[in-house]
């Protein structure tokens, strides 16, 4: 079983729609959850992170974690064509020796149509 599972999409929505992106994870010990955004031919960039259950909001973006069901979500309100990208969920674990091991989902490709 993969540590992080994500529906690869693609997902196509009209401009202004609310987008919901979801992942599940396997290990209840995971505590640190992140969403990265990756534009075509670019490296991933950190969008949001959270380390607790509940919601975290940043502008049009909301990250949600439900530890009881091991489910993480990213909501995008008022989606814009510039949001068209691949969204990667990820979990971060701190290893002995003081470094982070980040495991990514497969990514969901989102297209926002004007």
């Amino acid at each position: 079983q993969k540590e992080v599972e994500q529906d690869p999409g693609p997902l196509s929505v009209p401009e202004g729609a609310i987008v919901s992106l979801n992942c599940t994870y396997s290990n209840s010990a995971f505590q640190y959850f992140m969403w990265y955004r990756q534009y075509s031919r670019k490296g991933p960039e950190l969008l949001m992170y959270t380390y607790s259950s509940g919601n975290k909001e940043d502008g049009r973006f909301t990250a949600q974690v439900d530890k009881s069901s091991k489910y993480i979500s990213l909501f995008i309100r008022d989606s814009q064509p510039s949001d068209s990208a691949t969204y990667l969920c990820a979990i971060r674990v701190w290893r002995s020796g003081g470094y982070q091991k980040v495991t990514f989902g497969t990514g969901t490709k989102l297209q926002v149509i004007p």
Partner: protein, 116 residues
């Protein structure tokens, strides 16, 4: 300031050849990571450096892959006897070494390797 720089951005090589991929991390970042991203997949961890030493190389797929970071800054990923299955985007990331929440991975734009 400057981000993580990777060169070349694209590399086409023939099966069996040797390639080197370079990563120049953000100045002051002591932690450096290599990831590999195949088409339609998320990045997969290859190796982690803290300073000059490889502290975790558990993601390297086999002994054809090797990475160095001799002076604790620039790193080179080396692939011997390349195979078509090595075709992927190789991503480098760096971060501050502390455990704080503000030490996310900063990725470069990757080297797109194609083995023909």
């Amino acid at each position: 300031g400057a981000g993580v720089s990777q060169t070349p951005s694209n590399k086409v090589t023939e099966k069996g050849k040797y390639v080197e991929l370079r990563c120049d991390p953000i100045s002051g970042h002591t932690a450096l990571y290599w990831y590999r991203q195949s088409l339609g997949q998320g990045p997969e961890f290859l190796i982690y450096f803290q300073g000059t030493g490889a502290a975790d190389d558990s993601g390297l797929p086999n002994d054809r892959f090797f990475a160095v970071r001799p002076e604790g800054s620039v790193s080179t990923l080396k692939i011997q006897r390349t195979e078509r299955g090595d075709s992927a985007v190789y991503l480098c990331a760096s971060s501050l070494s502390d455990r704080g929440a503000d030490s996310p991975l900063h990725f470069g734009n990757g080297t797109r390797l194609t083995v023909t």
